[in-house]
């Protein structure tokens, strides 16, 4: 338990590192510098890689669903999002509803 608490706190500190550095550097570093641009690319690619992995090769509860269902839900969410002028909430609700409906049709 102590080990898990320390892990979470260390992850919190690791996240805060960037927030704190942002305050320290605000007004000193150019936001468009090469290092920050590269760092941003790596962060974007990492999050996209993780999300693509969860959708394509899921573990846990999602592993019991079909790839086609997950992809269709993503497609519907994107269509609803752009169809409602970038309404995040409606996009997520639409994707969620279609995903749940497909699962129910397949037999729960």
């Amino acid at each position: 338990m102590l080990e898990l608490a320390l892990l979470v706190l260390a992850c919190g500190a690791a996240t805060y590192l960037w927030r704190g550095l942002g305050v320290v550097f605000s007004g000193r570093v150019r936001p468009e510098s090469a290092l920050l641009t590269w760092v941003g690319c790596v962060a974007y690619a990492m999050i996209a890689g993780l999300m693509a992995r969860i959708v394509l090769i899921p573990t846990g509860a999602l592993a019991e669903t079909l790839l086609a269902e997950r992809l269709l839900a993503c497609g519907v969410a994107l269509a609803a999002y752009f169809g409602t002028r970038n309404n995040l909430f409606l996009g997520i609700v639409a994707g969620f509803a279609v995903f749940a409906a497909l699962g129910a049709l397949r037999g729960g």
Partner: protein, 246 residues
Amino acid sequence: MASARPETRAGVATYASPREAFRAAARISLGAPSAVLAAGYIGFAALAKAGDFPLWAALLSTATIWALPGQIVMVEMSHSGAAHLLIVFAVALTATRFLPMTLSLMPLLREPQRRPWQLYLAAHILAMTNWALCVRRVPELPPEQRMAYFVGFALSNWLACLAATAAGYGLAGSFSPLVSRSLALVSPLYFLLIMVGETRTRLGIASLALGAAAGPFLYRYSPEWSVLAAGLLGGTLAYFALRGRA
């Protein structure tokens, strides 16, 4: 309570006092922005429960990490048995986006009578959702109302998501398998929409595409290293391919 309503002049809303700015921001925040984030956190809590991550640790992670991708990385990597040092390193990398975000917002909140510790506290409650709105809205306000507006907005997000983490965790057991499976898809949907919808630069789009291709591919070889490796590989490729042309 006429002062609670923003006075609009030439499209710019201002408030009677910092207190009114705080309240108005909290009201706006507790609408769609918090609902979207809370849906993500309900999904995160379901994911945490499915990965045998205890409630107290899930709540502690929302309070201290306060960044959905980092929290998902932590729960997923911890479940697949990755070394702790590696998990902390991966979480640190997912959080690098906070550096440019704080770098751009803090100068707007900085004013002569503002104590530095207030800026350091404000940086903790910043999230992608409130940053996107506040960085646009805050410059329209008088300097003495800006911090109040940001804190009202971001603190409401933070509190709403702590509640959502607990609610999602508590409800996850009572949900049918169908609902908990569906909730596990909410976080990926959230970031899919945020990233596809809000990424405008070619460099950003290339990073997303290459990362999305590298993630599942590398996962087959090394589940523990794949998150980090996909970021480094996809991001670095995108950076060097499009450097100077973004």
